[in-house]
């Protein structure tokens, strides 16, 4: 929980600093979302490598599980990512982000807007590229950016290919599994 709080605090402060700069001093929205993504991506990689990989594979003292509380294990990296994203939403409306996929295990993580679908298709079809656009949601204008989310280790692939609710079971390491969508209100 403390770790979540630290991550939230860090993300929030970076987000506030960046969006403030973006609106008042002309830093392009894409630059702001790129920087936010760097923080998110680094946090995720560190959690995966230093916490999950070390404790579950290298030292084999814990398991990582979708039902981590019942199993007394660690949250999966994707769960941790979403927990922090929701915690950020509890604290600020200055930006929001989500981990989505065209082939989500949980349907609620599929594309919900036209831009999300377009962006997820773009990053899947154009490896290495990001997607940027604008959309109106709930009467507000948003700058939205989509970044590819790769299967970085074998565990990602195994879990997605074997999960009973997974609609896609042919993933390999380095495949684009989905994308991170970051939004900043423009008004």
């Amino acid at each position: 929980m403390k770790r979540i709080a630290v991550m939230v605090g860090f993300l929030w402060s970076v987000g506030v600093a960046m969006t403030t700069a973006g609106s008042s001093e002309g830093v392009p929205y894409a630059k702001v979302t790129d920087m936010l993504y760097q923080v998110m991506s680094a946090n995720r990689e560190i959690y995966t490598r230093v916490v999950v990989q070390r404790l579950t594979v290298d030292e084999e003292v814990l398991i990582a599980s979708e039902h981590f509380e019942d199993d007394a294990g660690l949250p999966l990296p994707s769960q941790m990512f979403r927990f922090v994203a929701e915690e950020v939403l509890d604290n600020t409306e200055d930006f929001s982000y989500s981990l989505l996929s065209l082939h989500p295990i949980n349907k609620k993580n599929g594309p919900a807007t036209d831009l999300e679908r377009q962006g997820l298709e773009h990053v899947a079809d154009n490896p290495g590229e990001n997607f940027y656009g604008e959309e109106e949601l709930g009467g507000e204008r948003y700058f939205s950016a989509v970044y590819p989310d790769y299967a970085v280790v074998e565990a990602c692939v195994q879990c997605h290919n074997n999960h009973k609710d997974s609609p896609r079971r042919d993933l390999s390491v380095d495949d684009v599994m989905g994308g991170v969508v970051i939004r900043i209100p423009m008004d």
Binding site: D90, S96, E140
Partner: protein
């Protein structure tokens, strides 16, 4: 004649308008202004309007509603977090969910729970039609009727009423949990509930134990019938807590006995209990019995300050501002204020505090687990308990014919045992596992029953009224459907 009547009507109307304006802006009892009966939890605090309505009376509707919802969360947020809220506000705050805001705005509690509307208030204070799931789960990829074969012909009014789903709390209802408990037989009796066993078998004496002769109290107090005997047989005496521990709390521990009288209080306030029994007190004020002590309840408005804000402090005499004071929320709920059926012989003036269930000196936790409840509550479920298998097990345990932890009291289910850092404690917040009743499955039912039996039993209102005497008359198909779906997917891993 008509003119005089008209003047009278105008005068009364004017007086009424002045009264309303004064009570709304300065102070005074506002309960006559309630627009409808409050729900049967909030009615205990309806004199403290600001507990919920925290915004200025001149605030616009949007601000007022936001404040209202913020105040809902102030008291209920921890409960929702503990429930792993399936439709959490923060999830729906994401702008990607904007499409759903117009269907059923899950960012606001008031979308589904509106106070003061008894004519449309259903179980769990829900004020929308019970087919509310249709708003979001009937379209596109969220259309549950097309994505789950078992759900094809089901009506949306059954989602949350048939024992299958809840809007917030699905801790015992999600598919993997169902599959993980599928096929479990009912355990052989007697089943021992580990935490209850540890609690009931806890040490009965310590090296600090006090005897009747050790009691430090005025002779008049010691002369009250039964008091000394009750104390000497209590957990307090066994733990070395003398009379002065409660009746003279500011007496130094090593002070001579003769000073006890000078510090003596005949009726110690409840915060004396709460000072030592902090975990119990913390949960007590979150439950129905003790919620009037909840820290989230607004303090009465200060009439003098309100007058000053309106620039009237100089023209209004102090005595007038005293007359305009808000009624304070009483310290405790009384039996007479209960909305649930109470026994005719229960004292309506009895305040529900620690002593009303535990006794002031006996501190009898056994009585508090059953007899104390039944001395006030008078519904069919309570009355049926005494003929139920649960009570039979309780009697056997009390008689020493069954192991500690095998008996089932009222408190076993409604004030269950929790473990915190190795210590067993009793939650005094009934809401932890009261409604929806599936909240009870993990914390209580599964200690002694299979998940299948628990789901069926909790979905049978008749069986609940009979306090589970008999077999469930309904069958919840959740586990069957989860198994069928699992088998229909050959690629799925085994659970």
């Amino acid at each position: 004649m008509f003119g005089r009547l008209l003047k009278l009507v105008l005068a009364v109307t004017l007086l009424g308008a002045v009264y309303m304006a004064v009570t709304m802006t300065v102070g005074g009892d506002r309960r006559m202004l309630l627009i409808g009966q409050t729900t049967h939890a909030h009615h205990q605090l309806e004199m403290a309007c600001e507990t919920c309505h925290g915004s200025s009376i001149f605030a616009d509707a949007e601000v007022a509603e936001k404040t209202l919802n913020k105040n809902c969360r102030k008291c209920h947020e921890n409960e929702l977090k503990a429930a792993k809220d399936s439709h959490s506000r923060k999830r729906f705050r994401n702008p990607r969910m904007a499409e759903y805001w117009d269907r059923l705005d899950a960012r606001r509690c008031t979308t589904c729970h509106i106070e003061h509307r008894p004519e449309i208030t259903r179980a769990s204070a829900v004020t929308v039609a019970m087919d509310y799931c249709v708003a979001c789960h009937s379209k596109g990829e969220q259309d549950i009727r097309t994505t789950r074969a078992s759900h094809a012909g089901l009506g949306f009014e059954t989602c949350a009423t048939a024992g299958c789903h809840n809007f917030h709390d699905n801790r015992a209802l999600f598919e993997d949990f169902l599959l993980g408990h599928a096929g479990q037989p009912e355990p052989a009796r007697p089943v021992v509930h580990g935490l209850a066993a540890r609690y009931r078998a806890r040490p009965v004496s310590t090296d600090k134990a006090l005897k009747p002769g050790d009691a430090i109290a005025p002779s008049a107090a010691l002369a009250v019938p039964n008091v000394l005997e009750h104390w000497a047989d209590s957990g307090h005496a066994r733990a070395g807590v003398n009379c002065t521990g409660c009746h003279a709390t500011d007496l130094a521990e090593d002070a001579p006995k003769t000073q006890a009288l000078a510090h003596w209080i005949d009726v110690p306030p409840m915060n004396v209990c709460m000072a030592c029994h902090k975990p119990q007190a913390k949960t007590f004020v979150m439950g129905r019995h003790g919620m009037r002590q909840h820290p989230g309840i607004a303090k009465p408005r200060n009439a003098q300050r309100s007058l000053a804000r309106l620039g009237l402090s100089q023209v209004m005499p102090v005595s007038m501002s005293r007359w305009l004071s808000d009624p304070a929320v009483p310290a405790w709920m009384t039996v007479g204020e209960a909305r649930l059926p109470m026994r005719a012989d229960a004292d309506p003036a009895l305040a529900i505090d620690c002593g009303s269930c535990h006794g002031e000196h006996a501190l009898d936790t056994t009585r508090a687990e059953v007899e104390a409840c039944a001395s006030c509550h008078d519904d069919l479920h309570t009355r049926s308990y005494f003929d139920s298998p649960h009570h039979m097990l309780w009697k056997l345990e009390r008689a020493g014919e069954a192991p500690p932890g095998s008996g089932v009291s009222c408190a076993s289910c409604h004030m269950s045992k929790l473990e915190h850092r190795g210590q067993v404690r009793t939650t005094h917040n009934q809401n932890d596992n009261l409604r929806p009743n599936e909240k009870m499955i993990r914390s209580v039912c599964l200690d002694c029953h299979s998940l299948g039996f628990s789901l069926d039993a909790l979905a049978d209102p008749g069986l609940i009224r009979k306090n589970f005497t008999g077999k469930p008359g309904v069958h919840v198909q959740s586990i069957d459907w989860a198994i069928a779906r699992s088998r229909s997917n050959p690629d799925a891993p085994e659970n």
